[in-house]
């Protein structure tokens, strides 16, 4: 239990640093930015309490907000993603899946995992960019941002998952 907690905290810090110091500086075509910290939501195992997921993800969002001066935007959308993660995960499970299943290529298969990740990332990006462009509404730019960032994020997650498999 304590080891799990420690591992998650370490993962939290690494993801934060990678996002803040490297990925936040990538803006392809002025809109697409990989938001790798959504990976944090995707990897929560089935047996973690739902309020636990919510709290972890809220703090992840808060840290991102603090670094990029978007108060409340990432924390609100991360909390929302954390709310839907367990319900979406059950859609991709079999009846005989273990209770402490941790979503990855190995446990639920490559294609289902990608579909699962796409659903979470798209939902997250939709909420995030809608909130961010609150007073500056521009449909086309919003869709470009959501589309571009989703593609980049999924590619990154795919790459990391493939390495982890070995």
């Amino acid at each position: 239990m304590t080891i799990n907690l420690f591992k998650r905290a370490l993962f939290f810090v690494i993801l934060c640093l990678a996002q803040v110091l490297v990925l936040n500086h990538i803006h392809i075509l002025n809109c697409a930015t990989p938001l790798l910290y959504v990976y944090f939501v995707i990897l929560f195992p089935r047996d973690v309490k739902r309020w636990g997921i919510l709290l972890w993800c809220f703090f992840m969002g808060l840290v991102m907000d603090t670094f990029s001066n978007t108060p409340g935007v990432a924390s609100a959308s991360m909390t929302f993603a954390a709310l839907i993660q367990p319900s979406i995960l059950t859609l991709f499970l079999h009846e005989d899946s273990p209770d402490d299943l941790k979503p990855s290529f190995k446990t639920i298969g490559v294609a289902p995992f990608i579909r699962f990740a796409v659903i979470i990332v798209v939902t997250y990006n939709l909420v995030f960019f809608s909130l961010e462009s609150f007073n500056f509404f521009n449909w086309i730019q919003l869709l470009e941002c959501v589309g571009g960032s989703t593609v980049l994020t999924i590619l990154l997650i795919f790459a990391i998952e493939s390495i982890r498999k070995k």
């Binding site: 640093l17 803040v20 110091l21 936040n24 803006h27 002025n30 809109c31 930015t33 309490k49 739902r50 309020w51 919510l54 709290l55 809220f58 969002g61 808060l62 907000d65 603090t66 670094f67 990029s68 001066n69 978007t70 108060p71 409340g72 935007v73 924390s75 609100a76 909390t79 929302f80 954390a82 709310l83 909130l131 961010e132 462009s133 007073n135 500056f136």
Partner: protein, 288 residues
């Protein structure tokens, strides 16, 4: 009662969810009005330190380009100074007048050099974090400039770091004038490209042309007059047809910003006080 308790324990995560969302939205909507919110920005001690380390590493690799730019700028300015001091000496037959004027100008302003430690270009409301704060004499509402031109205005300051609203922010609003022609308007940004901004409220009878330089007007208490802002690239009519709206290509390269100066104007507090007194007396006049 037991059913109620069971219901609450079963769906406890919904309450956690609502609570966290409420906190997020309070942060979202009160960021601008709430003074303590500097703690939730990149100007707080921890994020500031991390960004400062990162900036140290990055600035090392961009030194060559910065050096080149500064040298170019230096040469240009030196030429200009030579020309101006020559013509001034010719006109007044006094060779020390330039030095005396310069000293008088510098006495009024104090420059606090600072390093940019975080910066963004792609958002609607971009912010810059710099590594000087209250302890170094930085306060909110002070102007920030770099070697190439105006950067923005200090928004919040913590002990060692401050948050700057650059021109590339919808909230930014700087009084500027057309160099040599004295007509003034206010500079604002409308999202999109990071090297363009707009100058509004230039009167219809003003005379100017494309390529004219834009500088700060000195009417606000934030910037002294004469700091370069950019060049006019296109001229539009405003939506109500009463004024001109100019597209400006900014002289400051926000994508490659490292060293900036915070401008501390000794006389600005006096000016602000005067403005406040005037506003108060107007209010009293209205009530009577």
């Amino acid at each position: 009662m037991r059913n109620l308790l069971e219901f609450l324990t079963k769906y406890n995560y919904w309450f956690v969810f609502l609570l966290l969302e409420i906190i997020s939205f309070v942060l979202l909507f009160r960021f601008n009005s709430y003074q303590g919110s500097v703690w939730f920005s990149s100007a707080n001690a921890v994020t500031g330190q991390i960004y400062a380390w990162n900036a140290d590493v990055e600035s090392f690799f961009s030194l060559i380009k910065v050096n080149e730019q500064l040298t170019m700028r230096n040469v240009r300015l030196e030429n200009q100074v030579n020309k101006l001091s020559k013509s001034l000496a010719d006109l007044t037959h006094d060779t020390t007048v330039v030095e005396r004027n310069e000293l008088a100008l510098l006495n009024q302003y104090k420059l606090i050099p600072a390093k940019v430690i975080s910066n963004s270009l792609d958002k609607v409301d971009n912010y810059i974090t710099i590594d000087k704060g209250i302890e170094d004499g930085v306060k909110s509402e002070m102007g920030v400039a770099c070697g190439n031109g105006v950067v923005g205005i200090v928004y919040m300051a913590s002990e060692h770091y401050s948050l700057v609203i650059p021109i590339l922010n919808l909230k930014s609003n700087i009084s500027c004038s057309i160099k040599g022609r004295r007509y003034f308007g206010y500079l604002h940004w409308s999202g999109g490209r990071s090297d363009e901004a707009y100058l509004s409220d230039i009167p219809r009878h003003a005379f100017f042309k494309k390529g004219d330089e834009i500088e700060t007007s000195g009417y606000s208490a934030v910037f002294p007059s004469g700091i370069l802002v950019g060049k006019v690239t296109q001229i539009f009519n405003s939506s109500d047809g009463l004024t001109y709206r100019l597209r400006i290509s900014l002289s400051t390269d926000f994508g490659n910003l490292r060293d900036v100066c915070v401008i501390k104007d000794a006389s600005s507090s006096e000016r602000i006080q005067l403005l406040k007194v005037a506003q108060d007396s107007l209010k009293v006049g209205k009530q009577n």
